[in-house]
Symmetry: C2
Subunit: 256 residues, 2 copies
């Protein structure tokens, strides 16, 4: 058994359906993912544990592989922690993995890349099993046009045009490693699935990119337009912000 | 335009997530699929319309292709009815198709076969996006054993052993046309998906078959056991009834 007084750093992989939550961050009088995790950890450890996520997802945003760090003097094994947390958490939040991380591991500071997914049902009757899990648009999208427009955004750029207003960062330069657009046939509908991996994301960047790209997908704007918006570095030129419920944090990568 | 006084028979294809409902059939003081459809139809037609489903799904059971019939003197086109119903229904109930059927079309009486699906997540942490949409079992299932046991149930048999107690039918003989077992890899979990098509089903028949088959899948019973239970025609010999939330009515077939 480990020294019961030694503080260890833990890393969790967490999946959640964000539909019922006001996002990640603790708020007064509103259910949040962070509050649920901290409550479940306190039940297990009798410590007041503060958890940190790789990024604060907004209300309605989902995660398949959110990474969460915390320090604790608990002597429980990772496997016991996993089972106890899942026994104490609501069913729409699940801890998929628990491991002891390097001392001082920090889910925000140590992240080197993230991958997001955005799901759109284009056309047809809204799939009742995907309500809250995709953006339903009445028009059929041209996925080849979407893909061509996405390709023009690959690489290192100043994404100031795609940053939410009123959220200044020291630098608005980010590098997109991967930006894929695929059409998937589901039983009751078709989905357009966009995945974007980058070394970091500005606030609302994925939702602003998607809201701009769909103007291309529906034929209202040319393929070059999202790149023109990028080079203009002017938020007011971009499309609207896509709704939160189509967005999933897929995975976060760390060094080593 | 059709004669506004002529009564026409309509056929709807309806999908629903049954999680929030006390099943199909209208009940006092409880939300049901039938009640929601009748309310939406009344809003559209100003008639008190009674709708009939191919079968009454239980609380928590889902449908991908429930068939619903009703008679109405509405002069609206099928496309208008589809749009108006979906505008008036909750998002977890969607009308996928509306058509004018042969006069007197009746969703129960005219059905010639039905297909059900049952989904099991075997092992792993329960997928938070599939809560309410599959049965989560802690053990890994042997899908080859499940498939072999299912194959022995194909064909025309007396399924009295798999009928819920207290629900006598004139005949308990049914013919299973198709009974497949597949393992599907999802992003966060593995699923065992069973599909069963028959000329009709006794009450709780699919859930009783699944509850019996999983005893084979987990290695507690031999492959021949579900067939032995069948030939014994004794409900008390079968396994437990699988929970409703893994069950989906997939499709209903009609003559012509």
């Amino acid at each position: 058994l480990s020294d019961p007084l030694a503080i260890r750093s833990f890393k969790l992989i967490v999946a959640y359906d964000g539909t019922a939550y006001q996002g990640w961050q603790v708020q007064l009088d509103a259910p949040t993912i962070q509050a649920e995790l901290q409550r479940a950890l306190q039940t297990l450890t009798n410590e007041s544990v503060r958890v940190t996520a790789s990024g604060r997802t907004d209300a309605g945003v989902h995660a398949l592989g959110q990474v969460v760090s915390f320090d604790s003097s608990t002597s429980h094994s990772p496997d016991t922690i996993l089972r106890a947390l899942n026994a104490n958490l609501p069913h729409d939040i699940r801890v998929l993995e628990v491991e002891v991380a390097a001392d001082g591991f920090h889910a925000i500071r140590d992240a080197v890349s993230k991958r997001y997914r955005y799901c759109i049902q284009d056309g047809g009757v809204a799939d009742p099993f995907l309500r809250g899990l995709c953006w339903h648009l009445p028009q059929r999208m041209d996925e080849d046009a979407l893909r061509a427009a996405a390709n023009l955004l690959l690489g290192k750029h100043d994404f100031a045009s795609y940053q939410a207003a009123g959220s200044p960062r020291a630098s608005t330069v980010r590098t997109i490693f991967d930006f894929t657009v695929t059409r998937q046939s589901r039983e009751l509908c078709d989905l357009i699935v966009m995945e974007i991996a980058a070394d970091g994301f500005l606030y609302n960047m994925v939702r602003n990119l998607v809201g701009t790209l769909v103007e291309v997908g529906r034929g209202s704007r040319p393929i070059q337009w999202p790149h023109e918006v990028l080079t203009a570095k002017d938020r007011t030129l971009a499309g609207s912000t896509a709704p939160p419920h189509g967005l999933f944090l897929v995975a976060v990568e760390y060094v080593g």
